[in-house]
């Protein structure tokens, strides 16, 4: 392995620092260690952005609250979403993929181990740059999709020094008062966002290319495409989405950078540019991005539900190919974020149709998951509870998503709390619940220790109650006319109680996260006592020790079915004898 070869080359007779506790992590190219670093770092950002969420909910707990200034609130809500999406959800899926994919397909490592390490360190650098913006009081403040021209400036109006938010606002005000067109964000806030996102984009791209090559070229003998675990399938689809979607974000943000610093006018209407260009470019990335955040969750659920139901996934082919269908369709739906921008009716009808179409493979997946549980032998582990929670909560996110494709209704609820509810049912009720199922499921594989099941169940109920209290009232807030991204709201429209309930829900989720942290740290103090496979699991990663040795498998495994570990544990009735 690379770690060993570096050590061999070291001229020092003493123990090289690459073998020290810290050095072995910093210099590693082992996919498992890189995966673990991704997961820890991303989880740290989850806590960070979670605190930002609590700040938002504290500000909105009561009407006319003054806990946060409008300038602070705008930075907090922008960074909550930016961090959750780019520094938590994307990299944590990369982390799990890194750890699991080579084990699942019987490979010794990723195809490009050093590129893999580069990806992690770029992610860290991007994360640090974005976080540093807070230190300079210039955190991005125009929302996670940072619409031009609100993010626009001209080279002459940029504030030279990084000033306070008030100074930036005053500069913007005086620029507007002076009749200066096209200078709405003279501070460095959008620049931090652009630079941070592009570094993270490179990191994601290296990871995506690595996954595609690894999955297509590194599978063990007998691990055909049609026998790959569904998490592997979904990671492959996600990787293709990243490769084709990220360039659009890169182009969009570079054009904005050129506008701001080189004096071009791509998004400046007064000089012949077009603000809608930003929206088309951004959402061409932004909608595949939503599936980048949820497809790995689909994959995880398709691994976990079968194990705890004691049955194979119902309709492997449908589940795999519906994921591929979603991947293709995700590039045809971007303008459903733009129904209110005044597109021609025919274009709106097209995007309503494509959005409706993408709901079909999603529905198929949900039915297949339910059918997997039906007729099984259901074990209520913490992991399974989160998996079942995922199915029911993501279903709500799917249904209110279909509602948003109903164009005339979308005219009413777009940019209201109804949309905020939708994205949180998908990304929290969906992605985070699946992630927690995955953490409880694979934690023993990664650490050789079992997380406490009772604490896991407590956390599950805190999450379920908390997320519904936090996000369900937002549907009604939207219907009652509360726009999103308001730092405060008046009394008298029935918004106060619903907002307070939502805040209570957010803190309930926070309590659940606290329970998880206690569980984690308590478990990590214990001895490794775990057998190789505590779950009677099906896939290849469980056919080696927990945690696995650096080379993953002592001998190269030979795969004869979709459930190689089931075959090993059921020698009398293995899948490959049952399949035709």
């Amino acid at each position: 392995m690379a770690v060993g070869s570096v050590a061999t080359r070291s001229r020092s007779a003493r123990r090289s620092w690459t073998q020290s506790a810290i050095g072995s992590w910093v210099t590693t190219t082992d996919h498992k260690k890189i995966g673990v670093m991704y997961i820890y770092t991303a989880f740290f950002f989850f806590l960070f952005a979670g605190v930002l969420a609590l700040l938002i909910r504290t500000q909105l707990a009561t009407a006319n609250n003054t806990f946060l200034s409008p300038e602070a609130y705008d930075q907090v809500f922008t960074m909550h979403a930016t961090i959750m999406i780019f520094l938590f959800m994307m990299p944590i899926w990369t982390g799990f993929g890194n750890y699991l994919i080579p084990l699942m397909i019987g490979a010794r490592d990723m195809a490009f181990p050093r590129l893999n390490a580069l990806g992690y360190w770029l992610f860290l650098v991007g994360g640090i740059i974005l976080s540093l913006s807070f230190v300079f009081n210039s955190a991005p403040n125009a929302g996670w999709f940072s619409y031009a021209p609100l993010t626009e400036a001209t080279p002459t109006c940029l504030t030279q020094a990084i000033g306070t938010a008030q100074q930036a606002a005053q500069a913007a005000a005086s620029a507007a008062a002076a009749g200066g067109q096209g200078c709405f964000s003279p501070g460095a806030n959008p620049d931090f966002w652009i630079v941070g996102l592009n570094i993270l984009g490179i990191a994601s791209l290296t990871g995506a290319i690595n996954f595609v090559v690894t999955i297509l070229r590194m599978r063990a003998p007998g691990m055909t495409i049609n026998r790959m675990p569904l998490f592997t399938w979904m990671t492959m689809v996600t990787s293709f989405l990243l490769i084709f979607a990220l360039p659009s974000l890169t182009v969009a943000t570079f054009l904005l950078l050129f506008d701001r610093h080189l004096g071009t006018h791509f998004y400046q209407a007064s000089a012949g540019g077009d603000p809608l260009l930003w929206q088309h470019l951004f959402w061409s990335f932004g909608h595949p991005e939503v599936y980048i955040l949820i497809l790995p969750a689909f994959g995880m659920i398709s691994e976990i539900l079968p194990v705890f139901s004691g049955k194979p996934i119902f309709g492997y082919t449908f589940v795999a190919w519906s994921g591929v269908a979603i991947g293709f369709l995700s590039f045809t739906v971007w303008a459903h974020h733009m129904f209110a921008v005044g597109l021609p009716p025919l274009a709106q009808a097209f995007f309503a149709s494509s959005t409706t179409l993408i709901a079909i493979p999603t529905a198929v997946k949900i039915f297949n998951w339910v059918a997997t549980v039906y007729g099984g032998k259901v074990r209520f582990t913490a992991s399974m509870l989160f998996g079942l929670g995922f199915v029911s909560m993501f279903l709500i996110g799917g249904l209110n998503g279909v509602a948003l494709a109903v164009v005339p209704f979308d005219y009413q609820v777009t940019d209201t709390y109804f949309v905020v509810s939708h994205i949180h049912y998908v990304l929290f009720g969906g992605s985070v619940m699946a992630l927690m199922a995955g953490i409880y499921f694979w934690f023993p594989k990664m650490s050789g220790r079992m997380l406490n099941e009772r604490l896991g169940q407590l956390q599950f109920w805190l999450f379920m109650i908390g997320l519904n209290a936090a996000f369900f009232p937002m549907h009604i807030l939207g219907l009652l006319g509360m726009p999103r991204r308001q730092y405060t709201y008046p009394t008298g429209f029935g918004w106060e109680g619903l907002n307070l309930l939502s805040t209570i829900g957010a803190f309930t989720i926070a309590l659940g996260v606290l329970v998880f942290l206690i569980n984690f740290f308590w478990t990590m103090t214990k001895q490794r006592t775990m057998p190789g496979d505590p779950w009677h699991a099906f896939t290849l990663e469980w056919a080696t020790s927990s945690p696995p040795p650096p080379e993953n498998f002592v001998t190269v495994p030979v795969v004869r079915s979709r459930r190689p570990n089931y075959d090993l544990t059921h020698p009398d009735a293995p899948d490959w004898k049952m399949e035709h």
Binding site: F318, Y487, T491, E496, L498
Partner: protein, 348 residues
């Protein structure tokens, strides 16, 4: 498939009442004396009516789907929970026929939804009533200007319209993107620099309707609200002729002093008063104040238009609306502010 109006009205009241009033207690301190709401489920115009009809249809379908799927899921986990004597489950790998069936089933339901969507979408493109007026809604950071191009006047923060009349609205912005939204009358259309977006709305009954900016547009996005006042045709004509008049001459001495101070101070750098100051549009940054005293709100609904609030606003807008373009005037004496307030409030 329009639902029966009585049923819809009952449901429209039930949902917000059930969740909001129950949970909110008695939040009834409205920002002004006039009652208004942004509740889209209490529609007062043909567009909003169709949009809320669609909501109830979708809600019924979505609830049915949710209940069916979750019932099967809950049945499965209870019926097939692991017990000590549970047999090993049959290792079924799928059933193509069933899977094709449940691919077709949601396709049919979604096709129905799509047809309802597209028909409604084209229906609400076309206004029915032959009576029309035109208003230009101009989005500023952070307040709305309303120009009545055929009647030759401008106002701010509130827009009056006659009932049962199609109001064509031209949406204009020369700064950032805003979104024009009056939930009880119509869904939103974005106001985008360089784009000549248009929309229409119609009020079927008289009343005040709350409008809001729905696209994040900067620091004070939260305070970019406006009012639509739907009145009878004759009341509308009265209002129009009042708005068309030049500013009233103040009669009492305090207001007269205020008028003199207004025209000789920094105010005229940004604000116009027809008949008193220049109305050269290129120089005007703030709202036209010709009939300021007749308006309900100050500065995008951040506070009610009362003498006390106006005095606080003139002294330091930044404490009232952090980030607004209007600077503070700490050099003004109390007397000067009182004179300005008296003058501006006299401009009915």
């Amino acid at each position: 498939m329009p639902l029966k109006p009585t049923w819809r009205r009952r449901a429209a009241l039930a949902l917000p009442l059930l969740f909001a009033l129950l949970l909110a207690g008695c939040g009834d301190t409205s920002i002004t004396d006039i009652t208004h709401t942004p509740n889209m489920l209490d529609p007062k115009g043909p567009i909003a009516l169709k949009e809320s009809d669609l909501f109830w249809i979708i809600l019924i379908i979505a609830t049915a789907v949710f209940v069916i799927v979750v019932s099967v899921l809950i049945y499965s986990i209870i019926r097939y929970r692991a017990r000590p004597d549970s047999p090993e489950p049959t290792q079924t790998h799928g059933n193509t026929r069933i899977e094709i069936a449940w691919t077709i089933a949601p396709s049919v339901v979604l096709a129905v939804v799509l047809v309802a969507t597209i028909t409604t979408m084209f229906q609400i493109q076309q206004p029915q009533s032959p009576n029309t007026i035109t208003v230009n809604a101009v989005g500023h950071q952070w307040w709305w200007e309303f120009q009545y191009p055929d009647q030759h006047f401008v106002t701010a923060d509130e827009m009056w319209v006659p009932t049962n009349t199609v109001v064509h609205i031209n949406l204009v912005s020369n700064n950032v993107i805003h979104s024009f939204w009056v939930p009880q009358l119509t869904g939103k259309t974005d106001v985008i620099p360089g784009h000549d977006n248009q929309m229409w709305l119609q009020a079927d009954s008289q009343g005040w309707f709350r409008g809001e900016c729905a696209e994040f547009c900067g620091t004070q996005h939260a305070h970019m609200d406006f009012l639509v006042h739907a009145v009878s045709s004759s009341d509308y004509q009265t209002w129009v002729s009042q708005q068309q008049q030049l500013a009233a001459q103040p009669t009492d001495s305090v207001a007269q002093a205020g008028a003199k101070f207004f025209t000789t101070s920094a105010c005229i750098g940004c604000h116009a008063i027809n008949g008193v100051t220049t109305t050269d549009a290129s120089r005007l940054i703030g709202p036209n104040l010709t009939h300021f005293g007749s308006r309900q709100w100050i500065a995008g609904g951040v506070v009610d238009n009362t003498p006390t609030n106006l005095a606080a606003w003139i002294r330091d807008p930044q404490t009232v609306k952090d980030g607004a373009d209007m600077p503070a005037f700490p050099q003004l004496t109390d007397d000067q502010i009182n004179e300005l307030v008296a003058y501006l409030e006299s401009l009915k």
